[in-house]
Symmetry: C2
Subunit: 221 residues, 2 copies
DNA sequence: CCATCATTCAATAATTACATTGAATGACGA
DNA sequence: TCGTCATTCAATGTAATTATTGAATGATGG
């Protein structure tokens, strides 16, 4: 069978990919899959959604070539299937951040109030870590930490931040990171620690971006 | 008014941007706007669509922060409003090319048959042009050529390729380019010239990518 | 070969996207 | 101020998307 309008046919395919990115729940799935591969059940639990709904969205992502599935025991593990997924996400995020007034408003209302201090870049963090000047904490849940984290980071899940900080030296600077640039967890950790008198900054973005930049990743023992 | 779930609220905004990219007609509009700013009427003519339809799609793109509009005399000129639009497009295209079997099929059926020769990269082309080894032709319509083209390129719109080739030295290699990597025009020009005994190759992609790479652009006098 | 259970499918209803038509807007030039 | 004309809006019908429910599937492990 030959194709009448090859250009339109190609653009329809490209549109399938973009359309699959065009849903907030699917974007959140992508963020979680960027931390590592996961079962349907695990993703449903993380997002607080019914399993059937998550399964349906995962299949939409799979039809678009964004994720791939493989069986692992009783579970089906989904993972991102293409390195460009994160760059597509980043480009879309950048457009929204720069062009949409609503994003500005949300950021001002919910994020900037909590942390108006300039975040640490990846390069800065590497220098600080090399010189042993800061304590780096990974505030994600333990299972995500186990799938890969920044070398030298300590896993302090959000719920344990307060308890952990009691044994921490208040004179030593802390850097916190989590899943990505708009993951609320590191904002909340920074707010909590700062109210306890610690000097804290956020890493500019999270684990997936660190990995995507080709920087070393440490796995759990 | 404060926001209950800031992360979801942000992801809804990101989804608006991605959703706006999720339509073949809008992707084609983006390709044309990547050549330069255009009126609604001009875009409707290029795509062969009713004006009201194009206006509607342009407003969807504008709501998503992808294009911006400004009045110019009687016309409203639309243009891309963010540099990341092309990188988002490129990332989506890359995912589709690598992951979707249907794209493979279309390319094999419609493009590879016409040109199975490795395309010229931008770097190669610059070297060839510097040494004066090739004739570079821009096969886009004259109005698009006027809005910006590769320095040294000759404008030979697709319909005039055959006539133009009669005066061309068959011993000299030709490189052709057009709007972008999947614009059919350069494929057709290559096929036409090759059947006439010329040695022709395509540039790997088109004008927008050339400009996005920061390479010099020449405007019509 | 069977029981289990993670995952998928199917059916529903509500919402949103799309192309098309014709009318309304509103800025420009006279 | 008024006519012109590019653009936008509004209304329509059709199609696609979404969340939800419950049933079906099918691979695994015994």
């Amino acid at each position: 069978m030959s194709i009448r309008n090859p250009k339109l046919a190609l653009y329809e395919q490209f549109a399938i990919v973009a359309k699959a990115l065009g849903n907030p729940l699917r974007l959140e799935l992508i963020e979680h899959l960027a931390q590592g591969s996961r079962s349907v059940e695990a993703l449903a639990a993380k997002l607080g959604q019914p399993i059937a709904n998550i399964s349906q969205h995962l299949q939409a992502l799979r039809r678009a070539g964004i994720v791939s599935a493989e069986r692992d025991g009783k579970y089906v593990r989904y993972s991102l299937s293409d390195a460009s997924v994160l760059s597509a996400f980043a480009a879309v995020r950048g457009i929204a951040e720069r062009q949409l007034a609503e994003v500005d408003r949300i950021v001002r209302d919910c994020f900037e109030a909590r942390d108006d201090i300039q975040p640490v870049t990846r390069g800065e963090l590497q220098a600080l870590m090399r010189d042993g000047l800061v304590t780096l904490i990974d505030v994600r849940p333990a299972d995500e930490f186990a799938l890969g984290h920044v070398p030298g980071a300590v896993n302090v899940p959000l719920g344990e931040v307060k308890a952990w900080s009691q044994g921490a030296d208040p004179g030593r600077e802390i850097v916190a990171y989590c899943r990505g640039p708009w993951c609320v967890m590191s904002f909340e950790a920074v707010a909590a620690l700062r109210s306890l008198g610690h000097s804290v900054r956020r890493l500019e973005d999270g684990m997936p971006e660190w990995k995507a930049a080709g920087l070393p990743v440490e796995m759990a023992a």
